[in-house]
Symmetry: C2
Subunit: 213 residues, 2 copies
């Protein structure tokens, strides 16, 4: 695969997801072409950064016109694996875990939740949408048999690392961590932290600075 020629730096990868969201918006509005300048303005970047970033993917613009949004979207889709159907499990059937399991946007984007787990016997057996909350002891078996790709951690922070270890032992490929705890995994397992609480603390800091100075 051509677009995987080099490792894409994570700073670039993050922006590629922004481009992907934006090019979708553009296509929804029937825009067929877009310039690096235009993208930069909308996303708070410089046009130089945008062009540099695009040099990492297998897609080119045209000198006097910019980038055709259809081809751009297709290229980003391929790089980001948005054209693949992934299998997910959610660990933790609290408010957040249940909400994610019910959240339609994931399925629509190819992230299919094929199981929700908890250790609380009062929750096990209950229905969340069309699936049933299972005992976390079954997690390893399900991940192994159904070849689950990604595990979503939505348990209390204090047990997050334990769940991560379980997922890693089951042969998971990626972990989305929704808790405030930092999680460690071997290099073969990718981890992304969503930083919801951390994000609130960043805002908290920013507001404090703004109001004091």
């Amino acid at each position: 695969m051509k677009e995987l020629r080099k490792n894409i730096p994570s700073s670039v990868l993050k922006r590629l997801t922004h481009y992907y969201a934006y090019v979708q918006e553009l296509r929804d509005h029937g825009m067929a072409w877009v310039s690096s300048q235009h993208i930069a303005e909308r996303l708070g970047l410089t046009s130089s950064t945008v062009r540099q970033d695009l040099s990492h993917i297998d897609f080119s613009g045209i000198s006097q016109r910019g980038y055709d949004t259809a081809g751009f979207q297709k290229a980003l889709c391929s790089v980001l694996g948005a054209d693949v159907r992934w299998k997910l499990v959610v660990v933790g059937a609290g408010n957040l875990g249940q909400a994610l399991s019910l959240h339609g946007e994931f399925a629509r984007r190819g992230f299919n939740i094929c199981g929700i787990f908890d250790s609380d016997t009062r929750k096990i057996g209950k229905k969340v949408g069309s699936s049933v909350i299972r005992n976390v002891r079954e997690l390893g078996g399900v991940v192994g048999h159904e070849k689950v790709d990604i595990g979503v951690i939505a348990v209390p922070s204090s047990v997050a690392q334990g769940v991560a270890d379980l997922l890693v032992a089951s042969g998971i490929s990626g972990i989305l961590n929704l808790t405030f705890a930092h999680i460690i995994a071997p290099a073969r397992v990718s981890v992304v932290e969503t930083r919801i609480v951390a994000g609130l603390l960043e805002l908290s800091h920013a507001i404090k600075v703004l109001r004091n100075v």
Copy 2:
């Protein structure tokens, strides 16, 4: 305030939230001291980075022993504004919005949700925990009167910017964006994107690379 002497770079700020989570864990386990080396190992950093980061805050270690966790926690608490009670509103009473409103961790950490809003008349008036879903038209009034600090955006991506504009016009200080859309706000309003969908796409990319190469 001494700790606000200089703007803390956002790369450093992000790690400060990690240190804060970790020092809490240490204190829960009764550890009174920790070294930069120890922190670095746990969080996947170098001890040099940890010491550099700490030079941004009003807290010092002791040469042969490291950092006392109580003082460290207190200093981070102050920098991150974790010692302040903030008022939040949640816009969007879908699965995610409702889950956040019910999520106890926010309140426990000083982020008090004092309103949940939606534009769907079928949802307005229904209860979510102890609060009632209100019409988004009332948003501006509530933010203004109750001096709400932070708005959480949990609506569909396509209307996220509209909600952000509304929040900004109401005089909000910070925005936590849970959608996939990138949001623009004036410099006086801080925006943090939680990147849930973007995070899944990052994992998706990483897994694709891992399996192909």
